[in-house]
Amino acid sequence: MRTHLIATSAKLVAATVVAAACGAATPASNSSTQSASFPVTINEVAGASVTIVKQPHRIVSLSPTATEMLYAIGAGTQVVAVDDQSNYPANAPTTKLSGFTPNIEAIAAYNPDLVVASDDTSGLVHGLAALSIPTLIEPAAKNLDGTYAQISQLGAATGLATAAESVNKKIRSDVAGIVSSIPKPARPISVYHELDDTYYSATSNTFIGQVYALFGLKNIADGATATAPDYPQLSAEYIVASSPDLVVLADTKCCHQDLHTVGARPGWSSIAAVKSGQVIGVDDDVASRWGPRVVDFLRLIAPHIRAVEASSP
C-alpha cells in the first residue's frame, strides 16, 4: 500500500515538476490571422496538430500559466472556467476542475469549445476528442522563446493573434530593458533558487534557470546536472559550501520561508547571501510559471543583483 502510494505520488510529482522537460513550442502555423480566419490549425510541440473550427468563446484552461497568458492577450472574456490552481488574474473564473487529475465529464459539463492544459494526463486529449472538443497542450516552456511561442499559439487559437504579438513585443522590450540595466558583472554572481524547504532547486535546463542565465548569474544547482538534470535536491552542505551571493526563495507560500527562517537553519549563517541579507522571497506561483509575469520576477531580482555588484570588492 505504501509502495503504491509512493508510486502515485511520484507520478504526480513528475506531472507537477519534472514534466517541465517538454520541448519548446514552435510558433503557430497561422500567426498572422485575425479573428475572422478560422478554422486554424495549431502544430503542437509534441508533434500533434489541433484544428479549431471557429473562434472559441467557451474556453476551459487547466493550466495556471495558460490562464495568465489568455488574460494577458485579452482572451479573458472567452474563458468560462479555469482549474483550481489558476489564481491569477483574480477575476479568472476559478473552479474545482483539476489539471493534475482532470475529469473529462466535469470539463465537458462546461460545454467548452477549446480546452487548454499543460499536460495530457489521464487520457485528457483522447477523452475530449471523443466529445469533439479540441485540446491545446502548452507544456512548461524551456526558456523565454517557448513562452513567446505559446502566447502566439494561444493568440492564433483564440483569434487574437495581433494582440498576442503585441504582448510578446512588450515582454521582449521589458526584459531587454531590465537586463540591460544591470552592468556586466566584474565577477560571477552565484544564485541558489529554492523550490521547497528540503532544498529542491532548479538548474539552467529549466525555464527559471534560463531566466537567471539572462542576467549571467551562476546557478549553483548546475553542479548537480550530471545526476539530476532539471530539479535536483541539493545537499545542505553543498549549498553552504557554495555560499551563493543570492538566495531566491520560491517557497514563501508553500513553506513560509524567509530571511529569518533561512538564517536559522544549521550552518546557513555563513552563506554570503544570508550575511548580506540578499535572500529574496518571491511568489511561488510567479517563480514557477512561464507566463507574462516573468517580467515581474525579473524586476524583483534586478535590484538585488545590483546590490551584490555594488558591494563586490
Binding site: L5, V13, Y200, T227
Partner: protein, 365 residues
C-alpha cells in the same frame, strides 16, 4: 486459553525454566556490531558532497574537548561549520533512526510472531503520513513551542493510528491472539492511506512537500532533530531491550509467558507501545524508511541466531550502522544532489537480504 494469574509488575525478568539454555549474545558478534557502527559513522563523517580533509575533521571534532581544543589551531570555519552543524548531526540521527527502526521491527516480529511484521505494521507510517499531510495542507509553516508542526503532527498521527488499531483489535477480537491486532492494523492503515491520498489529491500544491516527507527528511536534519527524537528512542529501546527474554518466551508460545505468571497480552501491549513511541519519533523526523525494520533483524537471525537476547542488541548496532551507510550513499552517490534514502535502503538492502537468505538456506524463517 488459560487465564493466567497476574503478578505485580515488574517481575524479575531473569526467570527460570523455559528461558534457560537459550543462547546469550555472542561477544564476537557484539564486537563486530560495534566496529561496524564506528566504521559506518567514521565513513559518514568523512564522506560528503563537500570535501573536508581528515585533518580538518579531527580538529573540528576535538576542538570542543577542553585542552585539545586550545592546543589545535582552529579549522577552516566554514568547513568546521558544515561538518559540525550539518554532517555530524545527520550521521548521529541516521544511527538513532536506523537503530530504532531495526529494533522496533525485531520487537514487532517477536510480539506478533510474524516474520513480515515491520514497525509500520499497525499503521504507524500511514498515521504519520496523514498527520504530516494534514499539517502541510492546512497549517503550512506553523510551529508549536518553536518546533515545526509537521513532525509533531507526524508523531501524533503515528501514535494515534497504532492506538486506534489496538482499540479496534481489542473490541473486535478481544486480543486473544495477535492476528486480530494485525488485521485491525491493516484496516486502519488502508483507511488512513485513503484519507491521506484524498487530501493530497485535493491540494495538488502540497504534493511535492508530502512526497519529500514520505521519502524522508534526513536532508534538513540538524542537532534540533537529534534532541527531538532522542528521548523517545532511548525510552523505547530500553523498554524493548528489557523485554528481550520475554520476547524469547513469547516466541515459544503465549502459554510459555503466561506460565511465568506474566500476562502475554500485557507483554504484547508494553512492547507495542514502546516500539510505537520510538517508531513515531523516528518517522516524525526521518519520514518512512522502508525495509530497515525487516532486513536488519532477519539478517541477524540468519547469521547469528534467533534468540531475542541476540537479535535485539545486534539490531540496535547493525540497524544504526546500516542506515548511516545508506544515508552516506544517499548524499554522496549523486552529489551534490541527494538521493532519497528509502531508495538506497531498498535498492541495496533487498538484494543483500536475498544473498543472505540463499547462502544460509533460510529454512528457519
Amino acid at each position: 486459553m488459560t487465564v493466567s494469574p497476574r503478578r505485580a509488575w515488574p517481575v524479575r525478568l531473569g526467570g527460570p525454566n523455559v528461558l534457560q539454555g537459550l543462547p546469550r549474545l555472542p561477544v564476537l558478534w557484539a564486537a563486530i556490531g560495534g566496529v561496524a557502527l564506528i566504521g559506518a559513522a567514521t565513513l559518514g563523517v568523512l564522506a560528503g558532497p563537500v570535501h573536508i580533509g581528515l585533518g580538518t575533521v579531527v580538529q573540528t571534532l576535538v576542538s570542543p574537548i577542553p585542552w585539545f581544543g586550545h592546543r589545535t589551531q582552529a579549522a577552516d570555519s566554514s568547513q568546521a561549520s558544515i561538518l559540525w552543524s550539518l554532517r555530524v548531526p545527520r550521521v548521529v540521527l541516521g544511527a538513532i533512526v536506523g537503530g530504532m527502526l531495526a529494533t522496533a521491527g525485531a520487537a514487532y516480529q517477536g510480539v506478533f510472531r510474524n516474520p513480515l511484521a515491520d514497525p509500520y505494521l499497525l499503521g504507524a507510517a500511514a498515521g504519520a503520513n496523514l498527520g504530516a499531510t494534514l499539517a502541510i495542507a492546512f497549517a503550512p509553516g506553523s510551529s508549536l513551542i518553536g518546533v515545526n508542526v509537521v513532525p509533531l503532527a507526524g508523531f501524533a498521527g503515528a501514535a494515534a493510528a497504532v492506538a486506534g488499531a489496538y482499540v479496534l483489535g481489542r473490541t473486535v477480537t478481544g486480543l486473544r491472539n495477535a492476528t486480530g491486532l494485525i488485521l485491525a492494523g491493516v484496516a486502519i492503515a488502508a483507511f488512513l492511506n485513503a484519507v491521506q491520498t484524498y487530501i493530497q489529491q485535493s491540494q495538488p500544491s502540497t504534493i511535492r512537500q508530502v512526497y519529500s516527507w514520505i521519502l524522508g527528511r534526513l536532508v534538513t536534519a540538524g542537532w534540533d532533530g537529534v534532541w527531538l527524537v532522542l528521548p523517545y528512542v532511548a525510552i523505547s529501546i530500553v523498554v524493548i531491550f528489557l523485554h528481550r527474554r520475554l520476547l524469547d518466551a513469547l516466541s515459544v508460545g503465549e502459554e510459555e509467558v503466561n506460565s511465568l505468571g506474566i500476562s502475554a497480552r500485557r507483554v504484547r501491549l508494553i512492547v507495542v507501545v514502546a516500539a510505537t513511541l520510538g517508531t513515531a519519533a523516528a518517522v516524525a523526523i526521518a519520514g518512512t524508511i522502508a525495509f530497515v525494520g525487516i532486513i536488519v533483524p532477519h539478517t541477524i537471525r540468519l547469521l547469528v541466531g534467533r534468540s531475542y537476547r541476540v537479535v535485539i542488541p545486534l539490531s540496535i548496532l547493525f540497524g544504526a550502522a546500516f542506515l548511516v551507510l545508506a544515508d552516506t550513499a544517499a548524499r554522496t552517490v549523486a552529489a551534490p544532489a541527494e538521493l532519497p534514502i528509502g531508495v538506497i535502503t531498498a535498492l541495496v538492502g533487498a538484494p543483500f537480504f536475498i544473498v543472505v537468505m540463499r547462502s544460509t538456506r533460510a529454512a528457519e524463517l
